[in-house]
């Protein structure tokens, strides 16, 4: 070790990502291990902690053979995006650090285009000059993908926040990539529509970023992922060409479905500038149940009962453990409505008829209580209570961040072993850490394991990696 600290990240996949990111001009489609956006609520007031530069933290990464920004370049940028070129360090520092405060780049310029044409002009110029760029949406990602690694030019999509059109009948929304998901939902709400995906970072995350990372979210169980819901996309390729795949048709088999490559390409194939999304109707009735179980086997039995008895109205199944409730209480003073149980399940139903859904939910609750597979639970049908129960799940990333240093692992494992990773990790490093927490989308067998320490700990990190990956690989996760 050369005295530089190594952050608690999935270093191997991160390095792969960084390499592919820097190679965008050679159009390599080598993508990193997929990592989904984790969930956190509240506006991302970016507090730029003075974090170590990624270029120092990862000495094995070498800056590609790219040009550096000169005054001449700045003058051109000023011409391309007048008065939307930021170079003051104070203005840029927030854009150089990611939300979790673990990656800091050294970008010197931030550009804020408003139109696709401006993005095209920027990329064409940068391509010609061999200047590396990083597209940035809401900067809410947790894997360091939204900030520069070295001194890339940051292209912020935030000003491209226009809603272009909305068709009430088909539910197709066309908007620019910089639209914040919460605001999109605000605009859709009077029409009785909503985005097909929702995440805890909805107050700040942008649709372009969601598409580029193929964000899953909390309603994926019911509405599917973006590969199915994005009907069309417009992107600017690295050489400045505009790729217009902005179809609004639900069924469109003309030519190659190029937009599918863009979805999840993490900004390595092009900058998404606009998209058309299929938006479902806001359910007439949403109910949430929070259930407490005392063994993971009971959790699985409850999940099974929920699938059987709720069937078509089940729209989300989220899991949290005792440690999750503890971190919410300690760091955010959010109280768990139920007593202490080992495991918690958050079930959401969405339907067109409140009475029908309540019937189904009540039958389920009666069943699980009588069978004794649920120790305690609470149900909410009023929007305010539904929101406060969801807030428990959505605020976990925020609560964990307050612990200091968070090692995040977002992995998919066979359902029967869903919690074993957390239990095994707790046994392995628990005594040297603040806490080991497991929560996630039980419905997709996707667990977010988080290990926190007050600050980075080489021993803990060494014990975690590559052990966690080996563990996951061993069970074919």
């Amino acid at each position: 070790m050369r005295g530089s600290q190594v952050i608690g990240y999935a270093l191997k996949p991160y390095a792969q990502y960084v390499r592919s990111h820097l190679r965008q001009y050679t159009k390599e489609t080598n993508r990193s291990n997929k990592t989904m956006w984790a969930h956190s609520s509240a506006p991302m007031a970016q507090k730029p902690r003075l974090v170590q530069l990624s270029s120092e933290r990862f000495p094995q990464l070498t800056r590609g053979d790219f040009a550096r920004v000169t005054d001449g370049d700045l003058q051109v940028f000023e011409r391309l995006v007048p008065s939307r070129v930021l170079t003051e360090p104070d203005d840029i520092v927030g854009h150089n650090v990611d939300w979790s405060g673990t990656c800091r780049g050294d970008g010197k310029v931030l550009l804020r285009p408003k139109t696709t044409e401006e993005v095209s002009a920027i990329l064409k110029y940068c391509n010609g000059r061999r200047l590396a760029v990083v597209p940035q949406g809401g900067n809410t990602g947790l894997v360091g993908g939204s900030v520069p690694v070295f001194d890339e030019v940051i292209i912020s999509m935030s000003l491209m926040d226009k809603i272009i059109s909305l068709d009430d009948i088909s539910g197709v929304l066309v908007c620019q990539a910089g639209c914040v998901v919460d605001r999109i939902n605000g605009a859709l709400e009077p029409h009785g529509l909503m985005t097909p995906h929702i995440l805890g970072s909805k107050g700040s995350c942008q649709i372009g970023g969601n598409i580029s990372t193929n964000a899953g979210g909390l309603r994926m169980l019911r509405y599917g992922n973006l590969h199915g819901n994005v009907l069309g996309a417009e992107a600017v390729l690295p050489n400045g060409d505009v790729l217009d795949c902005l179809s609004t048709l639900r069924k469109d088999n003309t030519g190659y479905d190029l937009k599918q490559l863009l979805i999840g390409s993490e900004g390595t194939l092009g900058v998404v500038t606009a998209a058309s999304i299929l938006c479902p109707r806001i359910p007439a009735a949403i109910s949430v149940a929070l259930l407490g179980c005392d063994s993971f086997a009971q959790v699985l039995r409850t999940y099974d009962a929920a699938k059987r008895m709720l069937q078509e109205v089940l729209s989300a199944v989220e899991f949290m453990d005792r440690a999750s409730m503890e971190v919410l209480q300690e760091n955010l003073q959010l109280t768990c409505p139920l007593g202490a149980h080992g495991y918690y399940l958050l079930l959401e139903t969405s339907g067109s008829n409140a009475a029908h859904d309540e019937d189904k939910l009540n039958s389920l609750l009666r069943y699980v209580m009588e069978e004794g597979i649920v120790g305690d639970g609470t149900v909410a049908t009023e929007p305010s209570k539904v929101q406060s129960l969801w807030a428990l799940r959505e605020n976990l990333a925020v609560a964990l961040r307050a612990d200091g240093c968070v090692y995040k692992y977002d992995v998919t494992v066979p359902l029967s072993r869903f919690y074993d990773l957390v239990a095994d990790t707790r046994e392995r490093v628990g005594s040297n850490t603040t806490r080991v927490v497991g929560y996630g989308h039980l419905g997709e067998s996707d667990i977010h394991m988080n290990v926190t320490c007050p600050q980075h700990d080489d021993d803990v990190f060494g014990a975690l990696e590559p052990w966690v990956y080996d563990w996951v690989a061993r069970c074919n996760g």
Binding site: E189, L290, T335, P337, L338, L365, R366, M369, V374, D376, G377, T378, V379, A380, T381, E382, P383, S384, K385, V386, Q387
Partner: protein, 251 residues
């Protein structure tokens, strides 16, 4: 107040607490005004218990748990769906409910003075030692019912309660939130207390209690049959959205 000392010298209370619970538009819902600007749109809108009433219920339940109270009765005045609001109070731990039915608009037509008079009538029948109400409801924001009720009954009132404690001598001590900070008052019972935000954090109704609540008794009576003058004393002439915010300008 009637306190009975039992064999083990434990003070066992027989105190009855009456709590008002109002069914209002859920605070997470975006309010829309009716086309004719006569009122807020409530058709097909999600309703729930007024947050301050929830806090009042929670306080009453805590009194029961502390053995300061024996029985908690939840009262609601409103349409037939108000019984769901009473059920929520029962699921939180109230013992029984009284539903005074009316089809008058509870956010405009049934006004605080009328509500106070209804409560006064109920107090005659139930003879509670303590009435806890929310400080105001989030639909009309009147903040008058508790005060008017105390006036009608000639009872002491402790409004904007932040903390409620019982003295051994059958008095209550209430910390009140006032502009200058906190003020502590003490009052003899019976009294009216209105709950403010920081009095407590209401519990969620949990499953076993939700099931039990279905079996608890709710008495129903029509407002018209109560022999109380509920004529509105003022009429609402117009309800409109606040003007849209203009962009600020740098001075």
């Amino acid at each position: 107040l009637c306190c009975v000392v039992d064999q083990e010298s434990l003070l066992v209370s027989t105190m009855k607490v009456l709590v008002g619970v109002k069914r209002v538009v859920d605070y997470a819902v975006k309010i829309r005004i009716k086309g004719d600007k006569s009122a807020v749109e409530t058709a097909n809108v999600k309703m729930s218990m007024n947050p301050f009433c929830e806090i009042a219920v929670e306080e009453a339940i805590r009194l029961k748990e502390k053995k300061s109270a024996k029985e908690v009765i939840a009262v609601s005045i409103g349409p037939k769906q108000s019984v769901e609001t009473i059920r929520t109070a029962l699921a939180m731990g109230a013992d029984r409910g009284i539903h005074v039915t009316t089809d008058m608009r509870t956010d405009q037509e049934v006004q605080p003075l009328a509500i106070a008079k209804v409560f006064a009538k109920l107090i005659e029948e139930e003879k509670p030692d303590l009435v806890i109400l929310g400080k105001q409801s989030i639909d009309d924001d009147s903040n008058q019912t508790g005060q008017m009720l105390a006036g009608l009954m000639d009872w002491p009132q402790a409004t904007f309660a932040n903390e409620l404690t019982f003295g051994d001598d059958g008095t209550i001590s209430v910390k009140r939130e006032i502009d200058g900070g906190l003020q502590t008052v003490s009052a003899s019972l019976p009294a009216v207390v209105t709950a403010d935000l920081r009095l407590n954090q209401p519990r969620y109704a949990t499953l076993p209690n939700i099931m039990k609540a279905k079996k608890k008794k709710v008495d129903s009576k029509a407002l018209a049959d109560m022999g109380v003058d509920v004529e509105p004393r003022f009429t609402v002439t117009e309800v409109s959205d606040p003007p849209t915010r203009q962009a600020g300008s740098v001075v």
